[in-house]
Amino acid sequence: MLIIQGAVSLGLIFSLMAIGVFLSFRILKMPDLSVEGSIILGAGMAARLVAGGVNPFLATAFAMVIGCLAGLVSGILHTKLKIPGILSGILTMVASYSIVIRIMGTSNVPLLPHGPQRVVSVFTFLTDAGLSRPNAIILFSLVIVIVASSLLYCFMGTEFGSAIRATGNNQQMVRAQGINTDVMIIACLMLSNGLVALAGALWAQQQGFASVDMGIGTIVVGLASVIIAEVLFRPRMFWTSLIAIVIGSIIYRLIIALALSVDFMRPTDLRLVTAIIVTIALCMPLIREKGAKIFARRVK
């Protein structure tokens, strides 16, 4: 039960990050690695501000803003300075490590402004209302995920959003239709990294601290959720993709929790397990095809 609770709350929080990864990798079709930077920027910003006594909601909003800024930087590097997408993401990511230490002051910030017993966070108002902390985290994250996905769905259905989706498809055509593709790319990266930073901010408040190295491997976790969603549900519409990713993110956490509950596994094996999950998920089409062939042979 505890395992499931933990998996669901982390799954929900990280589904925001996975949706961000989905926006850049799948909608824009640009492998944007700045995500690794924006998750810690979001976490670090929220932690520092909350620890400094700032209202946690305001702190979370600031975290999103700095995530958007990271996206802006990647976008400008890519569109205006013509640096390949993957490299502009890496540059932003690397720079983020220094910046987040500047923001936090050290490499690890606990969220304990009110003495060691009491961590104030966006979840506090729910625990004050009588919810257990795990339930408060799940409820709050669920609401945020629903609100964020709904807003995103509406945004992607506007003329502007439609132009972003088309940009990921065919930039040449989009320009021929009078749309500035640079603006669309930058906007999508800002949105994507803003969501990732929001996930980072919630994550820091969920675990009660932020540290520089907590972001390593984020991109693979995000991809894992997206790919699990695609393999299991094969979503065809934008809104079904969003729902599938949220479920995919929770499933990913459950798989991780189960794998790590095996005796000889260590918590530090997490990233190894993640890499294996992604590999398996990526091979699914191949496995299906081979499997179908073997099956067909048997039947004959």
Partner: protein, 264 residues
């Protein structure tokens, strides 16, 4: 309508593969002119269209549409004046999006994209009407992904998208070359139908001399970055393929060798 003055462009200047692709090209299209452009491989036809469309910028010279100087205007800005169909059917449409979404994008050419919903019901009726004129049954498939369409269907859709919001100039660069002969004929017929109906100023590059002679009111031949022939109206109507071949030989001083320019 379209004015091109003394355009020069050199690719890879200062290298052994330096190529003076356009050599002081000038032309002027009247409103409603439908000019077919022929010429051998590498004559500069695509380069001329790309400079007009803003995917390339000239080293020298000026391009203007309806009196507006667009020589240095970025591609997406001048798109408000231009409709384009590319040779490759995949380049003109967004594959993962539906037919109606593609049309809605095209219908807003030249407008800023805001926070309004990307399509409304009134438009849908209009799109169905226009799709019906293609006679491909696409009017019943508004929400189908464009990726599901055949090359010919996609090219017909591209043509519709390029002309949905009437362009001042329509640019067609071998837009039937990637299609099988029967489909190519159909798309060319559609092109004529649309161009004539809206009296569009059109520049159409083709490798098929017969098509070049049969369509439009004006014909241009290019050779090594120059326009070596520009005929209109009566004069054009009386031209034959033999005339074209002879003119090419006198102008270039060599036999017509390019197989792509031979009759097909």
């Amino acid at each position: 309508m379209l004015n091109i003055e003394n355009i020069h462009i050199t690719f890879e200047p200062g290298t052994p593969i330096e190529k003076h692709a356009l050599n002081g090209v000038s032309l002027s299209l009247e409103r409603g002119d439908y000019v077919t452009v022929i010429g051998g491989n590498g004559a500069g036809k695509s380069t001329l269209l790309n400079i007009t469309a803003g995917t390339l910028f000239p080293d020298k010279g000026m391009v203007s549409v309806d009196g507006v100087n667009i020589t240095h205007m970025p591609e997406y800005k001048r798109a408000q004046y231009l409709g384009r169909v590319f040779q490759d059917p995949r380049r003109g449409t967004a594959t993962d999006m539906s037919i109606e979404e593609n049309l809605a994008l095209a219908y807003r050419r030249g407008k800023t994209r805001g926070m309004r919903w990307h399509i409304n019901n009134k438009e849908r009726g209009f799109y169905q009407e226009r799709l019906a004129t293609l006679e491909l049954g696409l009017e019943n498939r508004l929400s189908d992904k464009v990726g599901l369409l055949s090359g010919g269907q996609r090219q017909a859709l591209s043509l519709l998208m390029a002309t949905l919001k009437e362009p001042k100039v329509l640019l067609l660069d071998e837009h039937t070359a990637a299609l099988d002969p029967k489909t190519a004929k159909k798309v060319l017929e559609l092109t004529n139908k649309i161009v004539n109906k809206y009296n569009l100023t059109t520049m159409m590059v083709t490798h098929n001399m017969r098509d070049a002679l049969k369509n439009g009111n004006r014909l241009m031949m290019m050779y090594e970055g120059n326009i070596i022939l520009d005929v209109k109206g009566e004069e054009k109507a009386n031209l034959t393929v033999q005339d074209l071949l002879k003119m090419f030989e006198t102008a270039s001083g060599e036999e017509m060798a390019s197989d792509r320019m031979l009759l097909t």
